[in-house]
Homo-oligomer: 125 residues x 2
């Protein structure tokens, strides 16, 4: 029985460790949305900035660099005039599909819950 308890506690701590590992590379306000945005289609810098409402060009450049270093995206340079630079999600970033699907479903339910809460509050006023 004690063995079982111990195993279960270790398992719990492992999942906590893995969540920390994931957030170490994916944490922050922009990384997961950026990966999702580029999984939907490859894009130029300005197109990405347009979809990420509120991000500054400086932060966007830094975030794209970080994502590149962690092999979530590639930066492809095409020798047009002027040069065209396209950012694209890698196959590795596609391993995040389930995470992003779950997060998006949860976000949808959360939004609905907040909206229902507001309706109830308004009725009570």
């Amino acid at each position: 029985m004690d063995d079982l308890k111990l195993a279960s506690k270790e398992e719990c701590n492992s999942s906590l460790k893995y969540v920390f590992d994931a957030l170490y590379v994916l944490g922050g306000k922009w990384k997961l949305p950026l990966i999702l945005c580029l999984m939907q289609s490859p894009k130029r810098f300005n197109e990405i900035q347009h979809e990420m409402t509120g991000i500054s060009p400086k932060i966007l450049a830094q975030e794209l660099k970080d994502l590149g270093q962690n092999e979530f995206i590639t930066r492809n340079v095409y020798a047009t005039t002027p040069v065209t630079i396209i950012y694209e999600a890698t196959d590795y970033s596609r391993t995040l599909k389930s995470v992003l699907n779950e997060l998006s479903s949860w976000g949808m339910q959360h939004r609905e819950r907040i909206m229902r809460g507001r309706v109830v509050e308004e009725k009570m006023d």
Copy 2:
């Protein structure tokens, strides 16, 4: 055909919006790990701090307050001497179970990938 394309683009932008919604309340380094930690079992402040390596008491207090306001955890006060305060995950935080499972599995695979990369690098040295 154009209609289909439009629908698909809107769907894409919705999932991006929902991911932003989710990260708005769950973003940052500590919130998801804290929810997971309290989903595993209710805990006192010091116990939580022990599991969250590197968090300062000030930040932990603020994070617990935020999580309480968003109804992810409750703070239960028991009239012992001295008073016992136990933090507990709510049913609402349990709606994050799939998100946390996916994030944890991904973190595990990511760790394995990094470790494999290190082994390859060492062999090449």
